[in-house]
């Protein structure tokens, strides 16, 4: 599978990572190499094999649906790059 620059740009956009236009050819080439390596998987017969969901045969635990934690606003906001009036602050989202 060869990845073109347009696809590389689309993936970067989906991943929310800014990539300058002049970096796209190298990035596309790297993706192509890695995906070429991954494509060995096509040699494997996976017919009737279920995709693994859990490596150990255990079910996820359930617990009672009740509040066990909270009232930690100050701690939650402590590491925020921009916190104001008890909220995370971000650039304008809605016009």
């Amino acid at each position: 599978m060869s990845i073109d620059e347009k696809t590389a740009a689309r993936v970067a956009k989906l991943a929310r990572i800014k990539v300058e236009d002049d970096q796209l050819p190298a990035l596309a080439q790297e993706f192509s190499n890695i995906l070429g390596f991954i494509e060995q998987l096509n040699e494997v017969d996976v017919e009737a094999i279920e995709p693994m969901t859990s490596v150990t045969p255990q079910k996820l635990y359930r617990r009672v649906d009740e509040v066990t934690d909270g009232d930690q606003q100050e701690k939650v906001l402590k590491n925020a790059p921009d916190a104001r009036e008890g909220f995370f602050a971000v650039p304008k989202v809605v016009e």
Partner: protein
């Protein structure tokens, strides 16, 4: 007392209990060793105040007769573990300045047992790397050098700081994490012991996530006994990790008898790779003879899907990473890019992540994004998860025939030079994990045991792979191998 930094965990524990030294003395000696070892760049956040406070508390506990095995023993903590009030940034610029308001379960378990934290250890950014060259703190240097050559070598990765620090006697032991080999490969490159337990043994809570279905914490120590002691202290059932195993944690150290009479050791033919150095081949053959001489039965086995482990891993791990690392968006913690006039929230995300993530992390996040994107999910991600099921079945089938453990090389080479792989294709670097990554995909315990040196005087290791939840038996086999191999070499101090 002889040099306190040369001690093992077991030796220091016994000395503390006999009153031959104190935790404060042990801690001060190690803090001094760290101060003099800046050239290794292993410790990146120093916590001497915390260490001395913990050491004093440990001495009080020992005096009161309430001393768990780890009590008073100075260790290093990989930067991937969140430690309350202490920088914890997974060696990434995107977590610059992040000081968690909470403690990871593994480090809390160690502190509850009385362990002393000397500081945080360098690593590959977000544990993505095999040479500790992707860290925002710069490269870690291996204390080992090729004989007659001053070239700086990699300690391996991603737990390179942990490996370098233990090998250089800067701490008695260290925590590591292993997603594809990140405990075992650096342990092998530095002549120390490292075990990745069964998936679910150590809680992942508070450990910064890379690939959640593969990540496991484990100890990196000077010998197998120390690995048993520290692993027991790290393990626990934890309701805060939904994949944590609700099983009793055995006394692993008590299981170290060295008796492996009648055990069956499998030698997988698929691990005999083309182009494998003769020295690795010889080490593997020697290890096989050692286990046979110790009374084990040796059988040839086949793990037919081995070849597909690395490509499956390089779908699954990046896919999970792209999801896990979506949280680094410049809103809740860490770095936020300076924005230009008119930039909106999308520009904030894109600039923050471009500035904050290094190139290997960006590459893996984008590969993960691609394999999970509409139209490719089945072809890549689901196919890789199917192949993963087959890889696990290979091991299940072998263990069902009565095999107790599997012996393989730990790495395809000895430590290589820093910068040597700079111009190589990323895939070349990924090949470092060829012998270790199967174990993560199958969720099994695996341990790297130093077993010899190469012609240039660098350590080489063998890997033993065990059955799920049988870390005790696995460590006992590793103990027998350690006894037989008699590896005692240490790096010459140059730093």
């Amino acid at each position: 007392m002889s040099d306190l930094t040369k001690m093992t965990l077991a030796g220091a524990r016994d000395a503390l209990r006999k009153g031959e030294t104190t935790s404060v003395e042990l801690t001060e000696t190690h803090l001094k060793a760290i101060e003099g070892a800046g050239a290794l760049n292993a410790f990146v956040h120093h916590t001497p105040e915390i260490a001395l406070e913990q050491a004093k508390a440990a001495d009080a506990r020992i005096a009161a007769g309430d001393a768990p095995d780890m009590c008073g023993l100075p260790i290093g903590i990989k930067d991937l573990f969140c430690t309350k009030g202490v920088p914890s940034q997974a060696a990434s610029a995107i977590l610059n300045g992040f000081k968690p308001e909470y403690e990871s379960t593994v480090s809390q378990n160690l502190f509850d047992a009385g362990a002393v934290m000397l500081g945080k250890l360098n690593m590959d950014e977000f544990a993505m790397g095999s040479s500790n060259e992707t860290s925002v703190y710069g490269n870690v240097v291996n204390p080992w050098r090729r004989s007659g050559n001053d070239a700086e070598l990699t300690p391996g990765g991603s737990s390179g700081g942990s490996a370098s620090a233990v090998a250089a006697d800067l701490c008695l032991a260290a925590t590591g994490t292993d997603t594809g080999g990140s405990i075992r490969q650096p342990a092998a490159f530095t002549g120390i012991t490292g075990i990745k337990p069964t998936y679910g043994r150590c809680s992942r809570w508070g450990t910064i996530a890379f690939a959640s279905s593969l990540d496991q914490a484990g100890p990196m120590t000077k010998d197998v006994r120390d690995a048993a002691i520290m692993l027991e202290a790290m393990c626990s059932f934890d309701a805060k990790d939904s994949t944590s195993a609700n099983l009793p944690v055995p006394n692993f150290e008590a299981m170290l008898t060295g008796d492996i009479q009648g055990k069956t050791i499998g030698i997988p033919k698929e691990y005999r790779m083309d182009g494998m150095p003769d020295e690795i081949e010889q080490l593997w053959a020697d290890g096989t003879v050692m286990l046979k001489d110790a009374g084990a039965k040796i059988v040839d086995i086949s793990l037919p899907h081995t070849k597909y482990a690395l490509p499956a891993y390089y779908v699954i791990a990046p896919a999970e990473a792209s999801s896990n690392l979506a949280r680094y968006d410049g809103v809740r913690y860490g770095h936020r890019a300076t924005l230009d006039a008119g930039d909106g929230i999308t520009e904030m995300y894109e600039k923050t992540r471009a500035e904050g993530f290094g190139s290997e992390v960006q590459r893996r996040v984008m590969i993960g994004t691609y394999v999970l994107s509409a139209g490719f999910y089945d072809a890549y991600y689901n196919r890789a998860r199917r192949v993963r099921a087959l890889i696990k079945k290979d091991f299940d089938d072998v263990f069902a025939t009565g095999v107790d453990a599997i012996l393989t090389p730990a790495t395809p080479s000895a430590a290589f030079g820093l910068g040597e792989m700079k111009d190589a294709d990323p895939v070349q670097m990924y090949l470092n994990d060829v012998f270790t990554v199967t174990v993560n995909l199958a969720g099994l315990p695996g341990v790297a045991v130093p077993a010899g040196v190469d012609a240039q005087g660098l350590p080489l290791a063998l890997q033993l792979i065990g059955k799920p939840w049988e870390e005790g038996e696995l460590l006992n086999t590793a103990y027998a191998l350690e006894q037989a191999a008699g590896f005692v070499a240490k790096p010459n101090k140059w730093w």
